[in-house]
């Protein structure tokens, strides 16, 4: 199981833990299979992430890395290593690093897709 961001949820995923709102009220119980409506109501309740069965939170980012050419991923990693000073045992910094990497990977993916779309148009 692993925590997934609300925007990475897909219908058919199974909740590994009950989804609760800020006040601890259960919005959807453990074991439920997600539907479009559920995801929508999570957003309405301000839930930002839920725990999903049989999935690793890092899996999403791994998949996105595999979809990109190696040299692009490498240059992004190199740039981020320059930008981030060493941080040890700081979970917030680890999370920020992960998010920024994801943002950069997505931007790179959009750019490469954009380029291929343009080529297609020509």
């Amino acid at each position: 199981m692993g925590v997934l961001n609300i925007n990475d949820l897909k219908t058919g995923m199974v909740l590994a833990q009950s989804a609760k709102n800020k006040h601890g009220v259960v919005i959807l119980g453990k074991g439920n299979v997600l539907t479009e409506k559920h995801i929508h109501s999570f957003k309405a309740w301000g839930i930002t992430g839920v725990n999903i069965k049989d999935i690793d939170g890092d899996q999403v980012i791994k998949q996105e890395m595999e979809a990109l050419p190696n040299d692009i991923v490498e240059s992004i990693e190199k740039e981020l290593d320059k930008l981030f000073p060493p941080f040890e045992a700081n979970p917030v910094m680890e999370e920020i690093y992960k998010i920024v990497k994801k943002v950069n990977l997505r931007q790179a993916a959009n750019q490469t897709n954009g380029v291929t779309d343009e080529i297609k148009k020509d």
Binding site: V3, L83, F84, P85, N90, P91, M93, Y97, I99
Partner: protein, 284 residues
């Protein structure tokens, strides 16, 4: 000794030493119990640039109104008084920044983007953590690096050395400033905010946003600006001249009482708002 030097700088600066009158008038009016919407929109309309900006923002996609709002009074009602006050402050400072003659090594446009980015991230963090006054956190974020502006304009040569030092050593700018100038932009910025008579809370957000000293007072508002700044550098929304991401103080994260999964939501929401704000401000 150090504080005397800062006082001297603050007292010697021209354009920046007083806040634009429109902001002062508005602050005063908002503290009066019987201020009417009409009185407030009258003050705003005294400055056509600010009035235009208010209308532009209320008609932006963020508010999503189907009909165009052309009436300032209507806009004031929709945005709310606190939002209006912050908007007027942001616009007035932007006007000052635009005409500022700073060291050419310091990119004003990037600086302003960094300020807006940090302000938005800090406000979204504050909203997500259910802080009482996210608008004040926005102001704190907007002004957190204002000290750099003073350094860039009034300590040009020394500040150029600071900028070079940051690039060469990879250290945080406040460290280089302390080594070269003897004080950092958080000290100068908060001194200026004090001179402007901004609320204590805002002065503290500017003074302590690095949270580099154990003795620094930590409030949830300061924590929001502190983390907003780190996110802003990490996401490279503009640049205040830093080359490396400042490390988040763990106590600041704890006091905000958020979940790690909230961060990605904060980033997504803020990125969207940032793009909109930058397009509204129209950098040339």
């Amino acid at each position: 000794m150090k504080s005397k030097k800062i006082d001297r700088i603050i007292n010697s600066i021209g354009e920046l030493s007083t806040l634009p009158t429109i902001y002062m008038k508005l602050s005063h009016l908002l503290s009066v119990p019987n201020a009417s919407i009409k009185m407030i929109s009258n003050i705003i309309s005294e400055d056509p640039a600010i009035a235009a900006m208010v209308l532009k923002i209320v008609n932006s996609a963020a508010y999503g109104f189907y009909n165009k709002i052309g009436d300032l009074q209507h806009a004031v009602v929709i945005l709310g008084l606190n939002e209006i006050k912050n908007l007027v402050l942001a616009t007035s400072i932007y006007k000052v920044v635009k005409e500022f003659k700073a060291s050419s090594a310091f990119d004003m446009q990037e600086f302003w983007k960094h300020s807006i980015g940090c302000a938005i991230l800090a406000r979204v963090l504050a909203e997500t953590a259910y802080l009482k006054n996210p608008e004040n956190v926005f102001t704190g974020g907007l002004l957190h690096d204002i000290g750099k502006l003073i350094h860039a304009a009034y300590l040009r040569e020394d500040f150029n050395r600071v900028l070079v030092n940051v690039v060469e050593t990879g250290s945080q700018m406040s460290e280089s400033e302390k080594n070269i100038l003897g004080f950092d932009h958080a000290q100068t910025g908060s001194a200026l905010a004090e001179k402007w008579n901004l609320p204590r809370e805002t002065v503290n957000m500017i003074a302590h946003h690095h949270l580099s000293h154990m003795s620094d007072t930590l409030t949830r508002e300061i924590a929001a600006v502190h983390i907003g700044n780190t996110l802003c550098v990490a996401l490279r929304m503009g640049s205040g001249g830093e080359k490396r991401v400042p490390i988040v103080n763990q106590k600041a994260w704890e006091i905000l009482d958020l979940k790690l999964s909230d961060l990605e939501y904060v980033v997504q929401k803020s990125t969207k708002l940032f793009k909109e704000s930058v397009s509204i401000m129209e950098f040339e």
